[in-house]
């Protein structure tokens, strides 16, 4: 099985005097469902940032989908990102676009056909139970609704790699269930690799998963 992510002696930091991730080694096989846990401030979001190339490795090597991110070119990184779906912890929805257009964003960037786009957005809106709100702007939604929009956007272009940062933090159990369904579906049917940061691994998981824990700058697999 080929590996989607290979980290070799990877270190991450925002400033010289504070290393967040310290010389870690790990790898993720293609098509795996991965949970990442860790205390608040332990470096989970930081690790995700490095995976989509927003934070350059301090040292060591990080290979995602065959692309070495340490010193990657802008255009290669863009290509990688177009096949990645991200749910940010703070959602990062575009304020001046309604939620329909927000979900379309990766499809617009990918240059998809408008019929495909329409279908895809429609079915995702239904799945996250926001069809009736499709014309609203992000500020007019509740926190959990915004989070569901972010989830729908991350999945709209059927990415091969999905990175989700606490995608159910603001959701009740029922809504959270919808999200887990979506992620499991992408993993099972589209063979997408899914990496989820969460504080609580849902009790009923229908797919096999791996679990990494971050503590004191190192990453360990929990078995």
């Amino acid at each position: 099985m080929d590996k989607v992510i290979v980290a070799d002696n990877l270190s991450l930091s925002y400033s010289k005097n504070e290393t967040i991730i310290n010389k870690v080694n790990f790898s993720v096989n293609s098509g795996t469902f991965v949970f990442i846990t860790g205390a608040s401030g332990s470096g989970k979001s930081t690790l995700l940032k490095s995976l989509y190339g927003a934070l350059k490795p301090d040292s060591g090597s990080l290979i995602v989908a065959g692309v070495e991110l340490n010193g990657v070119t802008k255009s290669k990184l863009n290509l990688l990102r177009r096949h990645t779906g991200i749910v940010f912890q703070d959602y990062k929805l575009v304020k001046e676009w309604n939620i329909e257009k927000n979900i379309m964003l990766p499809l617009i960037i990918g240059g998809y056909d408008s019929a495909v786009t329409k279908n895809q957005v429609d079915s995702l809106l239904k799945h996250v139970r926001l069809k009736h709100q499709s014309g609203k702007y992000p500020q007019e939604l509740s926190g959990g609704e915004q989070q569901r929009v972010a989830m729908a956007r991350a999945l709209s272009h059927n990415p091969v790699l999905i990175l989700a940062d606490e995608p159910t933090g603001n959701l009740d159990d029922y809504s959270a269930g919808l999200i887990w369904n979506l992620l499991e579906g992408a993993n099972e049917q589209l063979k997408s690799t899914v990496i989820v940061v969460t504080h609580h691994i849902p009790e009923t998981m229908n797919v096999a998963y791996k679990h990494f824990h971050i503590e004191y700058g190192s990453i360990n697999e929990v078995v």
Partner: protein, 270 residues
Amino acid sequence: MKSFKNHLSLIVALLSILFSIQTFIIVDRAIDAYKEKLVGNYSLVIVSQKRVDKKDFLQNNSLVINIDELSPDIVIKRLNSGISSKNIKLLKLSLPKFYKLKLEHYPSPLEINNLTHKLLRDKSIIKVETFSKSHDTTYKLLLLFKTVITVFALSVGLVTILLISKELKIWQFKHNERMSIMGLFGAPTWLRSAVLFRLAVVDALIATVMGFVLFTYISYSEWINEEFSSIGIDVLIYDKVTDFGVMLLVSLSLSTLLASFIVLGHKEEV
């Protein structure tokens, strides 16, 4: 509604810049027209004891474009009400020849000086009347005029540059977030900034058309035309071809420049 307001702010900024530029063009034309008028009114008078050969004279003095002999009557007329007709006859007989010179352009005091010296080197020319005092007055006024216009144009330029930079900042506030988010989903730079450039081009076109309407209206306005005709000059306020072209060019290049700056100055969010 919201998107209309977005457009408005850039359009107003562009329009104000177009307005400043067009005003400057009009002023430039007015000064040129005025100089044209001045040279038409200004002339030198020379007094010579011999008849002057016109062709020769014009060839030797490139600044002069015409020389006409004055009838002595005109000269004497200036005093005629106080002198008896007998004396006038006497005067006429003893008077030398008078010539009026037309110049090619409105001369500086130095040019007048040089010309006078050159003319007086000819022994037969006994006097060059330059009306120097009145010439000096007008010339210095023109100088002051130009200095002031320059200073004002510089201030308008300065404030305009500031205005554009403010607009730039506002655009940055508005578009940075969206551009960052698009970047995080792998949008290449051109796509991220497509909205920006479309906005820039559309707004530039709207502003140009509005400028066109505004100045066409102004050029038919009675007040403006009265103002100019009271000064006695005829100025083209808005040339529907050239000026429109200049406006279009300026607003297009300014707004695309604005957009480019934002794209270049855009920092990725971490």
